[in-house]
Amino acid sequence: MRILGGGIFKGMAVTLRNFVGSYINKKERLPTNDYSWRADGALPQSIGDYPKEKGEQLSDTTTVTEYSRNFPMLLHDGGEPMDTVRCVACQICERECPPQCIYIEKDYDENGKYIKRPAVFDIDVSVCMSCQICVEVCPFDAIVMNSQFELSTPDRFGGLLVRRDDLLKSNDYYHKIHPEEAAARDQKMAVEKAAKEAKKKAAAEKAKAAAEKKAAEAAKEEAK
């Protein structure tokens, strides 16, 4: 025979177990306190009482997870950012960005000649949805995702538009926040570069061969 109200007592046993468990078995019962799976298990310690004590390290270098993505950044290869910036202002990402939050202007030198870099590269924080489509479509590996999430600002007009110079981050920084991904990307770039060089070489050889052939033909012609 079932006890009167047995289901209710069972439920109360469960809640009591959870009540007690939340004091003695915090890891199981309050799992949001448990960061042990994360890349650096020490995350909560370094954060501390997060909103009250936010450290520099939090917004800049903490690897939240390998693939964490929050906002795009532009990569440069070290040194003076604008000299080594990888972006060539091809505007593919601008076209492909689903909510259309990127704005790019090409850079020209005094003579009006297109130099391969952006003069303006703005991304609107309030519109960007962290989807990393821009990262995927960029053919030059110039734009990648940053894991920095302290993007709030008291200035709701200018402050929400992140400018080119703030977007620029070095490849070293990228290696620091997403080591695996960055390494893979570097490798891919190296392979592509090698392939390109090989192609170039091949093309050059071909051209040389063609030239030689032409020359030979021309010589033949002359000989005729």
């Binding site: 289901g7 069972k10 809640t15 693939y67 989807c131 990393q132 479509v137 995702m145």
Partner: protein, 383 residues
């Protein structure tokens, strides 16, 4: 097909005494309409004599937007349809587009897709049950237990895709990236732990007299009505039709896994059945997950599909068994990089169409839990 008629009621009209129906507009801002949804309810005392669902408050032009951008670009927008289940939304869309461009998906990617989809199903069902009990008036306790477990799965999603809810993880021909090292072990740990949580959950809910008496016999959905209204998913199975696209279509690699589809014999089809079917389905998902995690091979993650492509003029329909029902994407390509027509078959919307039939004659509190048991997400209903 039977459509429920408004129950008989008589308004008292005597000398000097006059009664009226009370018309209440529940929503769009109401704690239990699960978003911006409105029900125009006519009440006789507490009894619902008429109900008119009003939606469209969250219309975001999803389909038209997608027709104006490349195929890949609308992938992140599918996340936002049913924001609980971004992984399965991705899958349905990827399936439709893959049919257009005819790419093969590598083995490992297929396995990961199944793993992600079943984890999503767990997330959806577990939080649905929590919300449902919340609608019944519990103070959020079951919901928070559900969220405790959901959190662990979302952590897994975050490690794999970089985002907790808007995963945007599937790509045409595979997945965006492979899962990081150690992910599969962590997933196995979460999956192994899940049944013990389900035991606890069942102990908390399944025998509770109040829940039994509140949900049994409430919101009956007869089998014929369910079929003719196009209801799918757990709701259809609760009405007694054993129909599951994972079995019917066997998309992906579902033919490789052994699992069962719970359903009822169809003479009740009430809120309790819908709730229990979901509880049982979670156990089956765990079975699938265990098999998939054990059988996953090494290998490539991405077939050689181009990022941006121009499919030949054709049409395709990709559908999957989403946690809420049949989620389908219908695409017409016209040779440009953008789809000519892009249409979503949202399970939430179609399941919602039977709301009135289920609610009439019940109490106002029943209307709330019936809505909860349908399992809608307004992002998907209104698109």
């Amino acid at each position: 097909m039977s459509t429920a008629a408004a129950p008989n009621y008589e308004l008292i009209q005597q000398d000097g005494l006059e009664t009226n129906l009370l018309e209440v507009s529940m929503g769009p801002h109401h704690p239990s309409t699960h978003g911006v949804f409105r029900m125009d309810v006519k009440l006789d005392g507490e009894t619902v004599v008429d109900l008119r669902p009003v939606f469209g408050y969250l219309h975001r032009n999803h389909e038209k937007l997608a027709e104006n951008m490349s195929y890949l670009s609308s992938m992140p927008f599918t996340d936002r349809l049913d924001y609980f289940n971004s992984m399965t939304n991705n899958w349905a869309y990827a399936l439709a587009a893959e049919k257009l461009i005819e790419v093969e998906v590598p083995e490992r990617a297929e396995y990961l897709r199944v793993i992600m989809a079943e984890l999503t199903r767990l997330v959806n069902h577990v939080s649905l049950v929590g919300f449902f009990i919340n609608d019944l008036g519990a103070l959020g306790t079951p919901l928070l237990y559900a969220f405790r477990e959901r959190e662990k799965i979302l952590d897994l999603f975050e490690q794999a895709s970089g985002a907790r809810m808007m995963c945007n993880y599937f790509r045409f021909g595979g997945l965006r990236n492979d899962v990081p090292e150690g992910w599969l072990e962590r997933a196995a740990k979460v999956v192994d732990h899940f049944p013990s949580f389900l035991d606890e959950y069942e102990q908390l809910l399944c025998e509770n007299e109040i829940i039994l008496s509140r949900t049994q016999g409430v919101g009956n959905l007869p089998r014929e009505l369910a079929i003719s209204a196009g209801v799918t998913g757990p709701m259809l199975r609760a009405s007694g039709v054993a129909y599951d696209l994972r079995k019917v279509d066997q998309y992906g690699i579902y033919d490789r896994f052994k699992f069962r589809v719970p359903y009822t014999d169809g003479d009740t089809g009430d809120c309790y059945d819908r709730f229990m079917i979901r509880m049982l389905e979670m156990r089956e998902s765990i079975e699938i997950l265990k098999q998939a995690l054990a059988g996953i091979p090494e290998g490539e993650i991405m077939g050689n599909a181009p990022r941006v492509f121009k499919p030949k003029p054709a049409e395709s329909y990709g559908r999957i068994e989403g946690p809420k029902g049949e989620l389908g994407f219908y695409l017409i390509a016209d040779g440009t990089p953008k789809p000519y027509r892009y249409r979503v078959r949202p399970p939430s919307l179609i399941n919602l169409t039977v709301l009135r039939d289920m609610c009439l004659g019940g109490k106002i509190a029943d209307a709330v839990i019936i809505l909860g048991s349908i399992d809608i997400v307004l992002g998907e209903v209104d698109r």
